[in-house]
Every structure is written in structure tokens, then in C-alpha cells.
Point group: C2
Chain length 210, copies 2
């Protein structure tokens, strides 16, 4: 029997017990073999439950995927917003956002992979809802870039494109991350610096030798 | 019957006829539903062939996946190396590499997704071979960054980490790209500028007003 074995599959849901075990098992199954290759029977078995028990908690496999994506995106956004909350300006906000978002994608790697790669399997209604959540990340980063631009500390030509690139850089951590390449915090710190470079160019530069 | 319908699924293989049709069909099936959810029967049907005809060309589904990954990575590397070939220095080399690599991931989006997301399904031997190909990309970008650092036009603290970030930025284009967000060339041009910013910081800056 497969059991969720690490933090990287954990869903941030508030429910406990069987419903949560099922969701964690679904994350692991989807991340390992893909949504379409996974059966509800396999998810139930991985959670140590009967196939019928799964339907007590979730009406369908797609509903499980939606709940995983919805809760994953909600939790990551809360962490990111909370990290930005204490920032004294746009540069610090961009650093804090990037470091937190990168660390989240490394720490909850399997959950993040499911959120990123399996959304095409959602119903149109659920897909629309997840797209709206993603839009909030995009709006958040665009807003930080715009503030920096207004204050003359960033020099961003294409604000939506640059915001998308910064988010993409963070999200792809879930694909390649491995602990031997650094702990989530140190990867986050490097990426925070890279994101500020992407946004600032040389706007921050004070005169110095060439 | 599903038929490969766009350039984004095309494999760059030299073979033509049935073997190639099968590989293109496999890319489309793997990209849509994942490797594990796809059967050789479905691939054969999508290519307009009988299940038995598939085994004339490929001994297994895994062998098809390996050939797709191997040829995909080979073709993208050739394009990138050829783009860099004419560069006059590290900054131009980094720009040309990034623009070409991004455009490749947008143009061959389905093929790139299979190369990026399905490698875990390869046998250990094939997986090792694909990892070696990936290592060549990493070495290429590290070498460009090192040259720029030596010439004082780049200011990179962590060369392997920054190379990985630039490659990751390019690769993730295959996940989010959609033509309504810009043609492959214009996304490539933006990312070329962002990659140079990531590498250069303010090393390029000549003295100017703050």
C-alpha cells in the first residue's frame, strides 16, 4: 500500500481524518502517474480505505482534483500575501514574494506539480475558477512591479510579461527541485535576487566605475 | 480518429512515413493524457495504423517515449548551439540562446511538455541518457555565464543556480504558452532581455545619474 510519505504531497486542507487522507493519497497518485492514469480505487487503496468510502467524501475524481488545486492555490497565495505584508517597499515585497513562493513550490513539490500540470483535466467551470485564482497571483506581482516602476526603483518594459516570467520561474521549481540542489530557503533567496534583477535592471544602480 | 494537428506535436525525427506518424501521435497522446494513461493501441489508432503495425517500428511504449525525449532534446540543443554560433560575445550568446530556446518551447509546445514532464516514466538507462543530454544545456549556459563573468560584463554569484534558473524559465514556457500571449519570437525577445538582466545585474552599467 502506498502511503503519502512526505510533506511534499500534503494538502493544506483543514479537514482531517479520512477526507484528508484521501486527498493526500490523490496528490501522490496524480503526481506519480497522472490524473487520467489514476483510478478512484487506487486512491482509496493508497489511503487505506474501501472504494465505496471515497464516495462518502468526494463525488468524483475530478472533484478531488479541483479541491486539491483550489486549496493548493489558496494556501500558496495566503503564504505569499502574508510574506509581502511586512515589506517596506516594492523591492522587499518582490523579494519576499519570490522567496516564499519558490520555497512553497519546493516544499509542497508533488502538490504543486498536480496544481500546475493537471488543470487541463478539470471541468470548464472548475477550470475557470482555478484560472481566476491564478489571475490573483498575476495581479499581485503586476501591482508590485507597477509600484516599483512608479517609485523609479524598477525599470520594467512589459509588466504583464515580466510578472508572468517571475511566476513561471517560481512555479517550475516544482518540476526540477531536488534537495541535493539546495534547501527550499536557499533556492528562494537566489530567486528573490534574480527576480529583483529582472524587474530592476539597473534602475537601482548608483553611479560607480563601469 | 485523433490526428496530430499542429506543429506543436511534431517530432524532429528524420524518419518519415508510419514510424514518424506513430511518434507524432504518441507525443499528442502523452501530452493530452499522460504517458501512463496512454496505450499503444490508442497511439496506433491516432496514427491510423493497426496495433500490430506499431510493434514493427517500436518494441514498446517506453521506447517511443525515449525516442521522443532523445530527439526533442537533440533538436532543441542543435538549434540553440547554432543560434549561439554567430554571437560576438557572452551577452549576445545568452540573448540568442534564450530567444531560441524559448521560441522552441513555444513552437513545439506538446513535444516539449512530454520531454519535460514524462521523463520519470523512462527506464533507469534511458533516464540516465536523457539526464546527460540535459546536462549539456546546463554546461552550455554555465559556460556562457562564466565567459561573461571573466569579461566583467556579467555579475553572477551562483553560476550553476543561475544557469538552472535561465533554463527553467525557458522550459516552463511549454506549460503556460498560448498564442494570445504573444508569438514565440516576441516572448523569446522579452526573455532574452530578462536572462541578461539575471546574469548581468548592473555589471554592464556605465556611470549615469542615479
Amino acid at each position: 500500500m502506498i502511503r503519502p510519505s512526505s510533506d511534499s504531497v500534503r494538502t493544506p486542507a483543514s479537514q482531517s481524518g479520512a477526507a484528508r487522507r484521501l486527498l493526500d493519497a490523490a496528490v501522490e497518485c496524480f503526481a506519480r502517474r497522472g490524473y487520467f492514469a489514476t483510478t478512484t480505487r487506487e486512491i482509496a487503496r493508497a489511503a487505506g480505505l474501501s472504494p465505496a468510502a471515497l464516495y462518502v467524501h468526494y463525488p468524483s475524481k475530478e472533484e478531488m482534483l479541483y479541491q486539491i488545486c483550489h486549496e493548493g492555490y489558496t494556501a500558496a497565495l495566503q503564504e505569499a500575501e502574508s510574506a509581502i505584508g511586512g515589506a517596506t517597499g516594492p523591492e522587499e515585497a518582490l523579494r519576499d514574494f519570490t522567496a516564499t513562493f519558490v520555497a512553497w513550490h519546493a516544499r509542497y513539490q508533488m502538490l504543486a506539480r498536480v496544481c500546475q500540470y493537471e488543470v487541463a483535466a478539470l471541468t470548464p467551470e472548475h477550470s475557470q475558477s482555478v484560472r481566476q485564482q491564478r489571475r490573483r497571483y498575476q495581479d499581485l506581482v503586476e501591482s508590485v512591479l507597477r509600484q516599483g516602476e512608479q517609485q523609479g526603483i524598477f525599470d520594467v518594459g512589459d509588466i504583464p510579461g515580466t510578472a508572468r516570467a517571475i511566476l513561471s520561474l517560481c512555479a517550475d521549481v516544482a518540476r526540477w527541485y531536488s534537495p541535493h540542489l539546495g534547501d527550499p530557503g536557499s533556492v528562494g533567496a537566489l530567486y528573490a535576487e534574480l527576480a529583483v534583477r529582472m524587474a530592476a535592471g539597473c534602475a537601482r544602480q548608483t553611479p560607480s566605475s563601469p
